[in-house]
């Protein structure tokens, strides 16, 4: 792309406000996290000792294991269902029905965060839930049975899917809409049925957006905090207070005053998140920057 760019000094003026915020709330906290993670509360350099300490903490492995299980379930469900449904909605269906369905799937997105957890506290309590019949059929007679430790990742996936999937279905639908009709027509002439054309034409053509969704969903998933924190409150402590890594960091910082250990946990999360994002970005060719 050739474009004559001009501006010189004016460019600095335009980006100044943003750069101040970027430095203050993006770069400085990151640098500060690094500083904290490699020192102790007396400011002495500790090398990797903070990492050794938090990795050896009895809550570290369970917290990361919980989130790993959650992430696998969440990403698989999200990728398969959102893409699958978007393909179906884009396919043979009356436009009005398709739009209505997309809207219905999308509305719970407004209840993200605390509100969604509260709603699901009711949905998962067999005594008030509209799905109590289903819950009881599955062998859950009380709320405490529903939130048994082995069910928790699934519970959080349900909540995340309920608020998040609709938006992504709409986005994937939009991406599919961008595929020129001629391409689909050509595939059809070549004898591809709806499944084949979805698998070999449509999905590969929106792979960028799928990768993008995976990155954001992954980054969001590693940050799990509100959901377990609120469920812990609502279940009167039946959850480990450090169920997720973010909660562990929070507990370390605010219960024990150990901000250095907390920073080490945060950095581990950050590096994991960036590694995965980096991998996907490289593989999918997202975000090519022309400098």
């Amino acid at each position: 792309m050739t474009r004559s760019l001009r501006g010189g000094q004016a460019g600095y003026f335009f980006v100044a406000g943003y750069v101040v915020l970027l430095v203050a709330f993006g770069i400085v906290p990151t640098a500060y996290a690094f500083y904290l993670a490699f020192t102790n509360d007396r400011g002495q350099f500790t090398g990797l000792n903070q990492f050794v300490k938090v990795i050896g903490d009895y809550r570290f492995a369970p917290a990361f294991a919980h989130v790993a299980v959650y992430l696998v379930l969440w990403l698989v469900l999200l990728l398969i269902l959102t893409v699958g449904i978007a393909v179906v909605l884009r396919g043979r269906m009356r436009p009005g029905l398709s739009a209505t369905l997309r809207f219905l799937y999308y509305v719970p997105g407004a209840l993200a965060g605390v509100a969604s957890v509260l709603v699901w506290l009711f949905m998962l309590d067999p005594s008030v839930s509209p799905a109590s019949g289903l819950l009881r059929a599955l062998g859950f007679d009380t709320f405490s049975q529903v939130i048994a430790p082995e069910n928790l990742p699934l519970v959080f996936v349900l909540i995340a899917f309920w608020t998040g999937a609709g938006g992504w279905i709409v986005v994937m639908y939009g991406a599919l809409n961008n595929i020129p009709d001629e391409i689909l027509e050509a595939a059809r002439i070549d004898g591809a049925g709806p499944w084949k054309s979805a698998l070999f034409v449509q999905i590969p053509m929106i792979s960028r957006w799928i990768a993008y969704m995976a990155i954001l969903a992954f980054a969001g998933g590693t940050q799990l905090f509100v959901e377990p924190q609120m469920l812990q409150t609502a279940s009167l402590g039946r959850l480990d207070p450090a169920w997720s890594p973010n909660q562990l960091a929070y507990v370390l910082a605010f219960r024990y005053g150990d901000f250095n250990g907390a920073a080490a946990v945060s950095l581990i999360l950050l590096v994991l998140g960036l590694l995965c994002a980096g991998l996907l970005v490289r593989r999918s060719g997202l975000f090519k920057v022309d400098a």
Partner: protein, 446 residues
């Protein structure tokens, strides 16, 4: 697990090679903390954090003292092992402002509030014996009831209520069924077997509450949380005093006479409240659980002295909560703050009608004499209450971490999933030891 070990070992080796400083946090300074009051202003607004149960009491103080300016905030009251107060005080200590003047809290909170949270902080709780509350008033609290408040010879809180565990029973149901109220745990267990057979569905207790372990295992003198020194904790759940209670409860859970659910669970009151024949629980169960939650009519509920063990001469019982009021050492209006906590804990005006049994002895007399209390119960509860109050086993220490966390997050889910308490004891032990180590305790040999 193995990989983690290798990883940890590698990292440790690397760090050792680099010769780096230790990652441990600076130990909190011990010994009496200096207490520098903020500049005082007797007209300053006093911010009160209370749980919603005590909200009415604080509002009543406001009504009878219209000249005092109060800002009343409700919060979870540190119930069920909540660390809300602790985390917020950490935050205020960092920001240097914002502390509430008066807080309603759990005895666990006093363990950290009586010491500074960091090198530059001042302990949150003000030592009340330093010219704030007169010594005669402190002396009037029931014997031992202020011990959770006492550190290094200072008194950091006033006890709101004592929560000695008694044996609650529904006198009407006992009469209808023709049963005798058990006096020992063995009789309790035998009655359980009988109830399971003759009146299935009726309950002699429940273990699913966040504090059920304090009703049962504390009463059984189980050394789960025994501080053998200021920073040394001994936990031995394989002690016969623990296993006897676990076995007993397992058999009763198995036959259905003790519920795995929580008395205070979301729908317990509606579903099974009228089927509670007995409850091993604190003094506040009377007004709080039977009257307010289960809506059991007056004249049915009685309290019996704590159960004994056949062949064990010591009668001991547990304690469930028994909250405290603390005054912030940062308060700009210590006078009003102290006046408020004194009024709340010691005045007959407030305590005689309280839902819980007052720790202040004169107020406790007024509480027992209050027709509202005496009329609700089937018989006089004072003998049982007084006997239990002096029988609280002192071997269950007030630690820097809540004893409810491990019980709620490790034991209860396992029991809900069908495991026996006996089989869960090792996991509980590990959880307690882990928490203790994280809170800075060393673990004593069993």
């Amino acid at each position: 697990m193995k990989q983690r070990l290798i990883l940890t070992a590698t990292l440790a080796a690397l760090a050792a090679l680099a010769g780096c400083a230790s990652a441990d946090s600076t130990a909190a300074p011990t010994g009496p903390a200096s207490f520098t009051p903020a500049p005082q202003n007797d007209a300053a607004t006093v911010t009160v954090w209370t749980d919603s149960t005590r909200l009415a009491s604080v509002q009543a103080y406001q009504k009878s003292h219209p000249d005092k300016k109060l800002n009343i905030v409700t919060y979870d009251g540190s119930a069920d092992g909540s660390t809300y107060l602790q985390t917020k005080v950490q935050l205020f200590d960092r920001t240097g402002s914002g502390w509430p003047d008066v807080v309603f809290a759990s005895p666990t909170d006093v363990t950290w509030a009586s010491a500074p949270t960091g090198p530059n902080a001042q302990a949150f709780a003000a030592p009340l014996n330093q010219g704030l509350v007169p010594q005669p008033t402190l002396d009037n609290f029931a014997k031992g009831s202020l011990s959770p408040c006492e550190f290094n010879g200072q008194v950091y809180c006033l006890r709101n209520d004592i929560a000695q565990v008694v044996a609650w029973y529904n006198a009407k149901l006992f009469k209808d069924f023709g049963y005798a109220v058990p006096k020992t745990w063995q009789e309790y267990q035998a009655l359980g077997a009988k109830v399971a057979k003759e009146h299935p569905g009726y309950l002699l207790g429940a273990v699913g509450d966040t504090n059920s372990h304090e009703s049962y295992f504390w009463s059984s003198q189980c050394p789960a949380f025994s501080l053998t020194g200021p920073t040394t904790l001994r936990t031995d759940l394989q002690d016969p005093n623990c296993t006897r209670m676990a076995t007993l409860l397992d058999s009763m859970i198995a036959n259905g006479s003790v519920s795995k659910e929580a008395f205070f669970g979301q729908n317990f009151a509606q579903a099974r409240g009228s089927k509670v024949l007995m409850a091993i629980g604190p003094s506040w169960h009377g007004q709080y659980l039977f009257n307010a939650a289960f809506k059991t009519p007056a004249g049915q509920i009685g309290a019996a002295t704590p159960l004994a063990w056949d062949g064990d001469p010591t009668v001991a019982t547990g304690n469930v909560g028994g909250a405290v009021w603390m005054v912030s050492s940062h308060s700009a209006n210590l006078k009003t703050s102290t006046d408020l906590v004194s009024w709340l804990t010691t005045s007959d005006e407030n305590q005689a009608g309280a839902p819980t049994y007052p720790a202040y002895a004169p107020a406790a007399k007024a509480w027992l004499a209050n027709p509202k209390n005496s009329q609700y119960f089937a018989s006089d509860v004072s003998p049982a209450f007084q006997a239990a109050a002096s029988a609280v086993w002192p071997g269950w220490s007030n630690t820097r971490f809540s004893d409810a966390t491990a019980w709620s997050s490790v034991v209860l889910p396992a029991v809900t999933a069908g495991k026996t308490l006996t089989a869960t004891l090792p996991a509980w032990q590990t959880a307690i030891e882990n928490e203790a180590k994280a809170a800075g305790y060393t673990i004593a040999a069993r």
